[in-house]
Assembly symmetry: C2
Homo-oligomer: 478 residues x 2
């Protein structure tokens, strides 16, 4: 029976009898798990040959997460074929693992009845997750096809704001009255078949159904039947209001290393539970969003069609265009100066680039510190942090200005070298000031500092860099 435990067989496969060396090299750098390129190739072959049995075998063998990845690796035509063949045996969870774009495509191939069937087999949060993305007409068609009891719960889930704790939570949970003993809880769990598949805590509620404590299952199992749950429960547990933003939920889970947390309504009554696996995706998304905003990039639209992707990226290209147009306008003010000293045109990108990089480094640190709450926009350590960043900027400005000023003097003469060095010092210190104050100011006004702070900052460093370099040159070199 021990052979059933999946073993990392790749490390043990004798070199001689494995696949070609090309494939072995691939597998070594890749995971030991997940859908293999071989499985994808097998699926494509099966589609090409119309081999239905082979496709059904793949659905059967693969974890829903892997099958979703497989679907995403196919072309839209291949995907259509696979879905038509196996939509009746598809595990409902597969839909949750799909990227939004591909999921729309797959759901479009299923009848409302089939979607309803799949959705009603899912946990509440997963069902809501799928329905919230459908357009209104389709959502209503699917909802009508769901049995009334399930429908009510899902419809209620949909009433919570998007990205709120109410959307993340699962309604199925185990709530027990405070006077129960371990034995009573065990008997209840054994007798009651209508409970969630997996759960990690028993929530102890008062007569008003307010949670007053949580008993981890491991504690309940380690104690005798006569022990009261009240005596075992954590009372220092954290409750989550259903309207709390998912970013704050993620913060709670990360800060306190929670496995699950009870969700309550306005009156403090227990509504549902959020488990850490639901939050993992939120944590990742939030980190991604913060950093994408700094670069000036929209979400990573890997699965969208080309025209849609092009359209999504237009926004940041427009921002970039405006920024560089502003920078160009600044340069154009010094046309006469550049006409006389062309070396300035050659050197000016250096001043702008160094200021931009120094500024992006600062702003990245600030945005992440604000997101992880190491820094609070009105905290007492704000000015210390700003001071440190400006000191860092000044140190590096001095070093790099010295180096670059010397090199430039060698090629273009001392006066130009001095002007370049001075402009670099000014611009890099400016980068330290702007890099701290822009995100802090945005955060103080309740604006998410992650979105667009980067492009906004580099516009200021471009403008300031060109202005100080060309301005100093006009003053001292003409």
């Amino acid at each position: 029976m021990s052979s059933e435990a999946p073993q990392p067989d790749l490390e043990r496969r004798p070199d001689g009898e494995g696949p070609t060396s090309d494939e072995v090299k691939l597998s070594e750098t890749e995971a030991l798990y997940g859908v293999s390129p071989e499985a994808v190739a097998r699926a494509r072959r099966a589609v090409g040959e119309g081999d239905l049995a082979q496709i059904e075998k793949l659905v059967d063998e693969l974890h829903p997460a892997d099958f979703a990845d497989l679907l995403q690796a196919l072309t839209p035509d291949e995907r259509r074929f696979v879905i038509k063949v196996c939509r009746h045996i598809l595990e409902p969870e597969t839909l949750n693992y799909l990227d939004e774009v591909v999921r729309d495509e797959v759901i479009g191939l299923m009848s409302p009845g089939e979607v309803a069937q799949a959705v009603s087999e899912l946990e509440t949060d997963d069902a809501v997750d799928i329905l919230e993305d459908l357009d209104e007409a389709e959502k209503q068609r699917v909802l009508r096809a769901i049995p009334a009891a399930d429908r009510a719960v899902i419809e209620q889930g949909l009433t919570y704001p998007e990205d709120s704790a109410g959307r993340l939570m699962q309604r199925d949970l185990v709530a027990v009255p405070q006077h129960w003993t371990v034995g009573e809880a065990i008997d209840y769990l054994r007798a009651n078949q209508d409970l969630p598949d997996d759960f990690y805590d028993l929530f102890v509620v008062d007569p008003m159904h307010k949670p007053i404590g949580a008993v981890p299952l491991s504690r309940a199992m380690r104690n005798k039947r006569i022990v009261k749950l009240e005596d075992l429960m954590h009372t220092e547990f954290r409750v989550v209001p259903a309207t709390m933003d998912q970013e704050s939920v993620a913060y709670l889970f990360r800060q306190y290393g929670l496995m699950s947390a009870p969700v309550v309504d306005d009156a403090g009554r227990l509504l549902g539970v959020i488990t850490v696996d639901d939050v993992v995706h939120v944590i990742e998304e939030e980190a991604e969003e913060d950093l994408l905003g700094i670069v000036g990039v929209s979400e990573t639209d890997f699965h969208a069609p080309a025209l849609e992707t092009a359209w999504r990226r237009v926004r940041w290209l427009v921002v970039t265009l405006c920024n560089s147009a502003i920078a160009s306008t600044v340069i154009s003010q010094f046309e006469a100066t550049i006409e006389q000293i062309v070396a300035l045109a050659i050197l000016m990108p250096i001043v702008a680039a160094m200021g931009g990089n120094a500024g992006v480094q600062v702003i990245t640190v600030m945005v992440r510190a604000l997101a992880t709450r190491d820094l609070q926009p009105r905290g007492s350590n704000v000015w210390r942090v700003v001071g440190k960043e400006i000191a860092v900027a000044a140190i590096n400005a001095a070093v790099f200005a010295l180096v670059m000023g010397t090199v430039t003097s060698f090629f273009f003469g001392l006066p130009i070298g001095l002007v370049l060095g001075a402009a670099m010092v000014f611009n890099m210190i400016w980068a330290g000031i702007a890099g701290t104050l822009i995100p802090l100011t945005l955060a103080r006004f309740g604006i998410d500092p992650a979105i667009g702070a980067g492009p906004f900052l580099t516009t200021t460093t471009d403008v300031f860099g060109f202005f100080s370099f060309l301005g100093l040159a006009t003053l001292f070199l003409l």
Copy 2:
């Protein structure tokens, strides 16, 4: 008793009697939990007044994660005072929640015996996490002060490679033989006091101590005493080799929504367990690292002193300097052209910036797709993906070149407008090609595509942009 459940009281606090309106506004935008700026202010006041009782009260009231945040919000001098006062009542977990830089500082204030005392109270993974960062001499001093049994386990943990599953795992777990029943497991758990505090699965092992299945506690609790664990266990569970990289571990947990996974040695024997809360930080770190690399920024060194931070940032500033020096060299080849048409110096930043932004958008999508394994460097969909990205680049290149070419023609005449438009098309399509091929090539050679791909890419778009714009101008406008 229901009053013990922490309620989000902020929403309910009558306006009149709360703190000043400034503080209320702050609290609304902040979390309902975590260390409040008021707590930090209270701590600083207590330090200023030497009020030891107040400080001890804070240690006692706050969760270790919050107390760690509080320590980090203080100045080094204040921190030193607080640690000296309360190092004997500090919860050992506080150390794990501290940023590396601050943790070094705090540990430096404690005696090896005190550190050893704290470390031996922690779970293995947390203990190893603290010891691995100490310098060799201090590590040995602390290890010697730890009781022999604990020491052996920690020393073994330290033998696994950094960032491997072996470092993440916790040695305490519940392993049961395959022939046991639910009843036997419950009796064992009740009788045995030397078990981990919290656990989520019973691992079923064969006589060789190889894991053959996992029984979630909720399943064990819901079944009668006579049911065999063998009949309840998942056999489709995922084992993790102790040498697996933490990035792959994070992938496994995210892909399959795992709560915990058994860790095995080379022979497949059960060594320990990794739980999802240990992985949450890894998932976040990995997403952060990917994106920081693209921007060209090191880790977010929020708590390091100024000089150290300055030094850490030098690397990327050097890269930026080299990049812009290369770009300047390209421009200098066209000195004669710029001398005749100064408008070129004004417009050239636009071509470079648009190519750079288009390229960073592509490379970000590619790096994340590779990291989340939506894209495999030798997968069969690689060329389709590359084709799509180049198509997207071409579409946006055409649109923006048309707009910008027209505007430029208006200000600088049709010939310059045409040259600018053509250069933008070339450079943005180049951005699509380089943005896909650079990360794919790095990944094929087993190099992490996240690190430095961004700066490398923008060097190529700068060079290509300046070259095509000034080159076309030299060919057609002189």
